[in-house]
C-alpha cells in the first residue's frame, strides 16, 4: 500500500465506522431494539474491515517514483567533513582568567 493509499485507508476506516455507528444507533433507537443496533454495527465493522484492511489495488495507484541509481550517485548525500568537525569540536580551556 502506498502513502496515498494509507491515508485514504485511514480516512475511509474512520468515515465508515462512524457512519455505521450513527446508522446503527438510529435504527436501534427507531425500532426500540438494542440487539438490532449491535447487529447493524457489527455489519458495519465487518464491511469496514473488508474494505480497508486488505491491500486492495485501489490503494496502490500512487506508487513512489524512486530516483534511478546513476542519478542518485551523481548527487551524493552531503557528508560532514572530518576537518571542520575536529576544529569546531576543540574546547578552549580557561587561559584568560
Amino acid at each position: 500500500m502506498d502513502w496515498q493509499g494509507q491515508k485514504s485507508a485511514e480516512m475511509l476506516m474512520q468515515v465508515l465506522l462512524v457512519a455505521s455507528a450513527v446508522a446503527a444507533f438510529l435504527t436501534g433507537y427507531a425500532m426500540a431494539d438494542f440487539q438490532l443496533m449491535l447487529l447493524v454495527y457489527a455489519g458495519g465493522v465487518v464491511l469496514t474491515a473488508l474494505v480497508t484492511v486488505p491491500n486492495w489495488p485501489f490503494f496502490n495507484r500512487h506508487p513512489l517514483k524512486w530516483l534511478d541509481t546513476p542519478e542518485a550517485d551523481r548527487h551524493p548525500r552531503p557528508q560532514i567533513s572530518s576537518t571542520t568537525a575536529s576544529t569546531g569540536g576543540k574546547k578552549k580551556t580557561g587561559k584568560n582568567k
Binding site: T48, A49, V53
Partner: protein, 167 residues
C-alpha cells in the same frame, strides 16, 4: 497503516471505542424517558398477628398487588426489579423497612400485572411495635439497563393500619 496487521488493529480499536460511545448514547437516551407508573396494593386479609416467643411481633397478610410499570421500559432496559416494603416509624427508628414481596420483570409485556399473594417474606418487627401501627406500603423498583446508568424510584401508598389486637 502500512501493514495488514496495523490496519486490522486500527479497525478493531476504533470500532470498540465507537461501541463505547454508542453505549453511552444509549444510556443517555434513557434520560428522555419520563415514566408514568401506577401501583396499588390492597390488604385483603390479616391472616394472623401474634407475638413470637422472643417478643417480636409478626404479622401475616394476604395482598393484592397490581401495577403497571410498562412505561419504565425503554429500548435500553434489560429488566426491572420491583419490591413492596412495609415502612413505619418506631420510637427507636425513624424508618423501618420490611420487604414483603419482590419480583423481577423481564420484559415490557410482563410489566402490567396483578398478583394475589401472602407476604413472600416474613413481616417481623424488631420488638412489639406493630399493634395498631399505621404503616405505608411502598413499591420500590430498580431499572437495570442493558448499558449505562441504573435508575431507582418508588411509589408510596399510605393509610394502612394493623389491628389493635393479636389474632
Amino acid at each position: 497503516m502500512h501493514s495488514f496487521g496495523h490496519r486490522a488493529n486500527a479497525v478493531a480499536t476504533f470500532a470498540v471505542t465507537i461501541l463505547a460511545a454508542m453505549c453511552f448514547a444509549a444510556s443517555f437516551s434513557d434520560s428522555f424517558n419520563s415514566p408514568t407508573p401506577t401501583a396499588s396494593v390492597k390488604i385483603l386479609n390479616i391472616n394472623w398477628f401474634q407475638k413470637e416467643a422472643n417478643a417480636n411481633d409478626e404479622v401475616s397478610m394476604t395482598l393484592n398487588i397490581s401495577a403497571d410499570l410498562s412505561s419504565l421500559f425503554t429500548w435500553n432496559t434489560k429488566q426491572v426489579f420491583v419490591f413492596v416494603a412495609a415502612e413505619y416509624e418506631t420510637p427507636q427508628n425513624a424508618l423501618n423497612q420490611v420487604s414483603l414481596w419482590d419480583g423481577i420483570i423481564p420484559s415490557k409485556e410482563h410489566a402490567k400485572f396483578l398478583i394475589h399473594t401472602t407476604n413472600k417474606y416474613r413481616f417481623i418487627d424488631q420488638g412489639s411495635n406493630l399493634k395498631g401501627k399505621d404503616f405505608n406500603l411502598t413499591m420500590h423498583w430498580h431499572i437495570m439497563p442493558k448499558t449505562g446508568k441504573m435508575f431507582a424510584d418508588k411509589i408510596v401508598m399510605t393509610g394502612y393500619r394493623l389491628p389493635e389486637q393479636y389474632r
